[in-house]
C-alpha cells in the first residue's frame, strides 16, 4: 500500500467540476486583477475568521511582509518570533528591514510565552506568534505581554486556518494576521496566494493601497507600495474550496484522533488542551528514533516529512544574526526528533491503519 504525504491531484469529483466552472467564469469576464472573485473571497474569509476585513495578497510571505509594512515596522526595529518555523516568517522580518529575535518553543512547538519578556528591548515593535502545524499558540499570555509592553501582535496563521483558541478563530487575535494559500496548505490555491485579516479600518485601507503599488486611485499615490495582489483566478479556486474547509478540517481532526488513540503510548503525539482546537495542518510526532523510523516508513511506501530539520537560527542565511548552537535547546532538540505523518483529508481508514501498523511494528 502507498501512503503519499500530500495529494495535490484533483480527481474527478464535484469539487473539480465546480473549480473548472469557476475558472471558466473568470476567463470569460477577463476579470483578472483584483476582480470580483477576490472581493468575494475577502468578504467570505473575513466572515470565516470573525474579523471585519480580509485582504488578498500574493503569498503568505507577502502577507507577513505587508502586515509589518502597514504597521510601519522597518529598519532599526526588532520583531520576536520562533526559530522552528518556515523560513518565510523570518525572511519577511528581514525584508522589511527589521531584525528577527528568536524565542524558544514549548513541547507543543509553539512560542514559550514565559521566555518572551526577557527578549524585549527598546527596539521591539511586535511579536509574531506562529501557530505551527495548525496548533494555536498560547494567545492569552502573549496578548497580555504585548499589552504590557505596548507591542503589536501579528499572528502567523499560515499553517492554521480554521484553528480555534478559547472558541475564537485563529487570525482574529492580533492587530493584523496572516494566512497562506500555498498549494500545500489545507485551504489552498493552485499557485501562490495569501490573506491578511484585521479589524482596524485604517490598517485595512492602507493595506489596499500598498498591495496595489501604492495606488490610491489610477493617478495618485500617497505611499510607495508593492505589487502583491491575490490573482482573481486563484481566488475563484479558493472560493469553491472554502465551502469544504470545515469538512476537511473535521476529517483531519478525526485522522489525528485515530493516530493519537493508537500511537500515543509509544511516541509523543500532538495533544489538544481544552482551550484550543487544532486544525492539524500537520501531524508532528516526536521520537529520538526519528531518522530510522522515517527510513523504515519510506521503505514501506509511507511518505513522511520533517518540518523542519534545521532551525532558522542555524541556517547559513542567519549567520549575521549571531546565534549559536545551544541558544534554543527545545527547538534544536525537536529538529532532531520531529516527524510529520500524512494527515490530509483524502486519506482513507486503511491507509491510516497501515501507517499505524508499520509505526508500531518499527518500535
Amino acid at each position: 500500500m502507498k501512503v503519499p504525504y500530500v495529494n495535490l491531484k484533483l480527481p474527478d469529483s464535484t469539487l473539480r467540476k465546480e473549480i473548472f466552472k469557476a475558472l471558466t467564469k473568470v476567463f470569460e469576464k477577463g476579470d483578472f486583477i483584483l476582480g470580483q472573485e477576490v472581493q468575494k473571497l475577502e468578504k467570505q474569509f473575513a466572515e470565516y475568521c470573525g474579523t471585519k476585513y480580509a485582504v488578498g495578497v500574493n503569498s503568505g510571505t507577502d502577507a507577513l511582509f505587508l502586515a509589518m509594512k502597514a504597521l510601519r515596522i522597518g529598519r532599526g526595529h526588532e520583531v520576536i518570533t520562533t526559530p522552528n518555523t518556515f523560513l518565510a516568517t523570518a525572511s519577511a522580518i528581514i525584508a522589511v528591514g527589521a531584525k528577527p529575535v528568536f524565542v524558544d518553543v514549548r513541547e507543543d512547538m509553539n512560542i514559550n510565552p514565559d521566555l518572551i519578556e526577557e527578549k524585549i528591548t527598546k527596539k521591539t515593535k511586535a511579536i509574531i506568534p506562529v501557530h505551527l502545524a495548525g496548533k494555536p499558540a498560547d494567545m492569552k499570555p502573549i496578548m497580555a505581554i504585548a499589552k504590557k509592553h505596548n507591542l503589536y501582535v501579528i499572528e502567523d496563521a499560515a499553517q492554521s486556518v480554521g484553528a480555534e483558541y478559547r472558541s475564537k478563530k485563529i487570525g482574529s487575535f492580533g492587530i493584523v494576521n496572516c494566512f497562506s494559500l500555498h498549494p500545500l496548505k489545507t485551504l489552498n490555491a493552485s499557485g501562490d496566494g495569501g490573506l491578511i485579516t484585521t479589524n482596524d479600518d485604517s490598517i485595512y485601507r492602507h493595506l489596499l493601497e500598498i498591495r496595489n503599488i501604492g495606488l490610491k486611485n489610477r493617478s495618485e499615490s500617497d505611499y510607495w507600495g508593492h505589487n502583491s495582489r491575490l490573482d482573481s483566478l486563484q481566488a475563484a479556486i479558493v472560493n469553491v474550496k472554502l465551502k469544504y474547509l470545515n469538512q476537511w478540517i473535521q476529517q483531519r481532526r478525526e485522522n489525528a484522533a485515530y493516530y493519537q488513540k493508537h500511537l500515543s503510548d509509544i511516541v509523543f503525539c500532538p495533544q489538544e488542551n481544552n482551550q484550543e482546537k487544532s486544525a492539524y495542518h500537520l501531524f508532528v510526532i516526536q521520537t529520538p528514533e526519528r531518522d530510522k523510523l522515517q527510513s523504515y516508513l519510506i521503505k514501506n511506501d509511507i511518505e513522511t516529512k520533517i518540518h523542519y530539520p534545521v532551525p532558522i537560527h542555524l541556517q547559513a542565511c542567519s549567520k549575521e544574526l549571531g546565534y549559536a548552537k545551544g541558544d534554543f535547546p527545545v527547538a534544536e532538540k525537536q529538529s532532531q526528533t520531529i516527524l510529520s505523518l500524512p494527515i490530509h483529508q483524502a486519506l482513507n481508514r486503511s491507509q491510516l491503519d497501515y501507517v499505524i501498523e508499520k509505526t508500531l511494528k518499527f518500535f
Partner: protein, 368 residues
Amino acid sequence: MRVKFSYLKEQFSHPEPILKAIRALVRSGDFTIGKPLQEFEKKFAKVIKTRFAVGVGSGTDALFLSLKALGIGVGDEVITMPNTFIATVGAIVASGAKPVFVDCNEEYLINPSLIEAAITKKTKAIMPVHYAGHPADMKKIMAIARKYNLRVIEDSCQAVAATTDGRAIGSIGDTGGFSLHPLKNINVWADGGVITTNSKEIYDKLILLRNHGMTNRDEYEIFGYNSRLDTIQAVVGNHLIKDVEKITKQRIANARIYDQELSKLTAITIPPRRKNARYVYHLYIIQAKNRDQLLAYLNKNGIEAKVHYPIPLHLQNCAQYLGYRIGDFPVAEKQAKNIITLPVHQHLTKQQICYVVDAIKAFYRLHK
C-alpha cells in the same frame, strides 16, 4: 462605434486550447515552479535573445529582484525618470535605495545627456524605462554606465520585442524586467513578470531570491522572497508567446496609420521615431492641444482614450520626502498636461482606427 482600450475579450475568442491546458495542470497539481514554467522561461529567453529568463510574481518584482540580485539597497541611489508607471520607482524604494530622477526627452524616454549631472558617489545603477514600448537609447546609456561603473536594469515592462541598434530590449543591461500583466503585449491572466539576463551569477542569485533563498527544501543560503510566476500562468504564457511577432507587427501597423494621419494635424505632436529602433507600442501616446477636452470628447464618442499619467511621480505625495518641486523636470511636467493615449492593441480593426482618427479631426474642427 466602441473602441475599447482592453483587448482581453477578443483574446478569448478561442480560449479552449488554453483552458484545456489549464485544466490538465489543475488535475496534475504541478503548481509551484512546475514544468510549464521552465518551458516558458526557455521560450522567453529565446525571444529576448538572452541566456536566461526567470519567471517572477510581477513586473514590479522583476525590477525589485533585479536590484536585490545586484546588491542594491539602503544608502544607494538609482537613476530613472519621473514620467513612468509608479512601479518602476516603487521597486527602487522597496529595495531601500533612493530614486533619483532625470528628465525625459520628446520620445518620453530618459534624456541621456542629463544623466551624468545626476550621478553621485552613491549612484549604483541606472534604470532606463522603455516607456510605452519606445526603446531607450541604450548605446548612450551603456556608455555612461561603463564610464561610471554603474549597473543597468532595463525596465522593459512595456517593451517586449522592442529593439534598438539591432539588439533586443532587455538583453543589453545587466538585467531586463518584463511584465506579463493582463494589459501587456504578451500577457498572462493574472500578475506575472520575467527577468532576463546573460549573467550566470545574476541568474543563480535570482533563482534563490525568488524562492525564499532556498538551495533545497531544508537549507537556506540567504533570506529571500516569495515571488514565483505561477505555473498556471506559465501555461497561458506558453500559448500566447507563440504570437509575439504577430501581435507586435499588428501594433506597429496600427501605430503607423495613426502617425500618418495625425501628423497632418498641427494640434497633435507625434514623438520623434529613431530609425534604428523598433517601437512596439504598448501604448500609443501623442501630445495634444486641449488635451482634457479632447479626452472627454473621445470618451463621449465611445473611444477609451486614457492619460499615462497625469501627475509625474516627483509630484506625488509619496515622493514628497525626496524634496522635488514643480519645475524640476520641465519636459515631463509639460508632457503630463498634453499627453493622451489612444487604443492601439492588435485586435483593433481598420475601421476602428479610422473612427478614432476621424473623431480627433472632428474635435479640432470644432476647437480651432
